[in-house]
């Protein structure tokens, strides 16, 4: 009895402010409804063009599929596709490990390089517009098939395109000669190997960091010139300014760049795992291919989660 009473009191208490605020609430609600209206088109589209295919491919991955007229024939086989991918397929795991290693090596390189170039392109000098235009050129070219021809991926044998030819210009001897010239002989094989891989990779490095440079440059524009002036007044060197002001300010954008770089290298149809997945799918093994793709996607998700979690601790967010 008493419980009911308190309940009634509570509800009346809850109701009365609602009554008072009725107008406000309805306005808020109406705005909320408008919000649904604005995203409605996308929501419908996403269900049909994104969620449904996603779930469908998840279902494929647990089935043995067979293409028939009028649809896809399926036979439930449980986790077998996944087990096969990791246990029986020799290429898949190898390609996966290779891919992860490559990404782990290249992402920091690309990020550091883009920060450096963005810093340089943010300074004032003659011909800056031209330099910027050239550095953003990869943004419009690198995602297309032209890149394949440039990279010489179209054929394994014979003559290759620009990248190969270009890297021969920086061939091992050149680095060795440079070291010899500096009076350094055979310091260690490992070091010269690292230098070699860096110099041969410079082509890919430059061609893959267009968007990152663009993003970081945009973030750099957000630093007010006043802070630079203040730092100079206090006698800070550019080096100190970079570590104390620039880097913290652009750190959220660096996170965005890291995520973009990782996703980009994972999703690139040219990478080894993707090639295997696509090959399986062109061989009509859609279920198997879907299982591989989902396992791959899960790994990407975990990697990204770890990266974001780690970087989020270092990142400095301006409190608004």
């Amino acid at each position: 009895m008493s419980k009911e009473k308190t309940k009634a009191v509570q509800t009346s208490e809850n109701a009365s402010p609602a009554k008072q605020k009725k107008h406000v609430l309805s306005y808020e609600k109406r705005k909320g409804l408008y919000g649904y209206g604005f995203i409605g088109l996308w929501a419908i589209g996403t269900i049909y063009f994104f969620i449904a295919p996603l779930i469908m491919s998840l279902i494929y991955s647990f089935n043995e599929t067979e293409v028939k007229v009028g649809g896809m024939g399926m036979k439930w086989i449980g986790m077998k596709n996944y087990v096969n991918a990791f246990r029986k397929d020799q290429d898949y795991t190898l390609a996966l490990v290779d891919m992860l290693k490559n990404t782990a090596l290249r992402t920091p390189l690309i990020i550091i390089f883009s920060i450096f170039i963005a810093l340089v392109l943010n300074q004032k000098f003659k011909g800056r517009t031209f330099a910027r235009a050239v550095f953003f050129l990869p943004v419009i070219i690198a995602t297309g098939p032209v890149m394949d021809i440039i990279n010489g991926n179209m054929s394994t044998g014979g003559y290759s395109g620009g990248s190969e030819q270009f890297s021969t210009m920086f061939e091992a001897n050149l680095v060795d000669q440079l070291l010899n010239f500096l009076g350094i002989y055979n310091i260690s094989d490992k070091l010269s190997n690292i230098i070699n891989s860096l110099t041969t990779d410079i082509f890919n490095l430059v061609w893959n960091s267009g968007i990152q440079i663009l993003l970081i440059l945009a973030a750099l524009q957000g630093i007010s010139p006043a802070s630079k002036e203040a730092a100079q007044m206090e006698g800070a060197t550019s080096w100190e300014f970079f570590w104390k002001i620039t880097l913290p300010t652009i750190s959220p954008m660096i996170l965005a760049c890291v995520v973009y770089t990782v996703v980009d290298s994972f999703v690139d149809p040219g990478n080894k795992v993707m090639t295997i997945v696509l090959n399986k799918s062109t061989n009509w093994q859609h279920g198997y291919s879907a299982a591989m793709a989902w396992a791959y996607f899960a790994i990407i998700g975990v990697c990204l989660g770890i990266i974001v979690a780690i970087l989020n601790k270092v990142i400095y967010y301006e409190v608004e």
């Binding site: 705005k31 994104f50 494929y60 009028g70 050239v134 060197t237 994972f266 793709a293």
Partner: protein
């Protein structure tokens, strides 16, 4: 406000004044004015100021060369007679120029037809995509509703999930859509949507086109950065949200619209994965270029297998043909790529 010319004049005068002051200070003796630390600092700045531009020039020049190298190579090869490819005495400039490669490739790629086809596909998809993505981005940026965070999580998913995962089920959806829909869309010609431009337009119309997640994200960030007072004024005057969006937000967001539109065009232009999945005879430039070496072998070499070295001139000519339109666009609009991004709110 001072004009640009006047500003330059002021800058000149300011620099001259500083120089004169330094000279005077030196004549009297620097120690009187500055602490030793300051003198050291100034000296260091001077050295850096003298050395750094040289380094900067060298670095930028080298890297620009790395980027431009394939393009220069393209130009050099595309106009070179095929026989001269093996001539060791030629590195960059061939002995005589020829338009034959371009003509051949033009014919093989059916470039006139393909180009028009691609441009129509691109423009329609990009316009639809920008329109719908901006509306969605605005919805996410300015309205509070239940499940917003969850729905935005889906947008982030759209960025991360590779399109390869959803392609096969999507293909099935396009191949066997509801019959009435297919009949209406294809004007009664077919019950399948495969090979029709609709496979591009439909997702774009529903804000699910190529990299739509990224575009929604950009628009959301941008609209969040605009001051709220803009709309509040309009609401007070009794405008509906949609009217406010069209009349107030779009004009304010013009720059960001242009940037996203350019990116959209570039990505649609370069896309061959989606188009190769849903088109079998509806050709785009990217698709043609992707298959160029097989079609070249078929038409020019009677189906013999040829190495890339033998057909490199035609390949490079094809590259040149296919990047020229987008390059021309880039040259005229490149400043929007930079300025637009700066103002599009991505900076925050």
């Amino acid at each position: 406000m001072a004009t640009k010319k006047e500003e330059k004049q002021f800058e000149k005068e300011r620099k001259a004044a500083i120089k004169a002051r330094e000279k005077r200070m030196k004549e009297i003796g620097l120690e009187k004015f500055l602490t030793p630390d300051q003198i050291k600092y100034n000296k260091r700045q001077k050295v850096i100021g003298a050395v750094w531009p040289v380094f900067r020039f060298l670095i930028l020049f080298g890297l620009c060369f790395v980027i431009l190298y394939p393009l220069i190579f393209m130009l050099s090869t595309a106009f070179r007679p095929n026989e001269q490819m093996n001539d060791p005495s030629i590195i960059w400039i061939p002995k005589n120029f020829t338009m034959q490669n371009i003509k051949d490739t033009w014919k093989v790629m059916k470039f006139d037809k393909t180009l028009i086809n691609t441009i129509i596909l691109n423009l329609v998809s990009s316009v639809l995509q920008v329109a719908t993505c901006s509306i969605t981005g605005y919805g996410f940026a300015r309205f509070k509703f239940k499940g917003k965070n969850f729905l935005f999580g889906i947008v982030v998913m759209m960025i991360i999930v590779p399109p390869q995962i959803t392609t096969i089920p999507l293909y099935m959806q396009y191949a066997y859509p509801p019959k009435i829909v297919a009949k209406i869309l294809t004007l009664g010609k077919s019950t399948k949507l495969i090979n029709y431009g609709w496979t591009m337009y439909l997702p774009a119309l529903f804000a699910n086109g190529i990299r739509a997640g990224l575009f929604i994200f950009i628009f959301r960030q941008f609209f969040r950065g605009l001051p709220k007072e803009l709309e509040d004024a309009a609401y007070l005057d009794g405008c509906s949200p949609l009217y406010t969006y069209v009349k107030i937000m779009i004009p304010n967001a013009r720059q960001s619209f242009l940037t996203v539109f350019l990116f959209s065009i570039v990505w649609y232009w370069n896309d061959y994965y989606v188009s190769s999945s849903f088109f079998t005879n509806n050709d785009t430039v990217a698709l043609m270029l992707k298959n160029l070496n097989t079609t070249l072998a078929k038409t020019l070499f009677n189906n013999q297998s040829v190495s890339v070295r033998q057909i490199i001139v035609w390949l490079e000519a094809g590259c040149l043909l296919s990047i020229t339109p987008i390059l021309v666009m880039y040259v005229f609009l490149q400043r929007y790529f930079v300025e637009g991004i700066e103002k599009s709110g991505l900076a925050n």
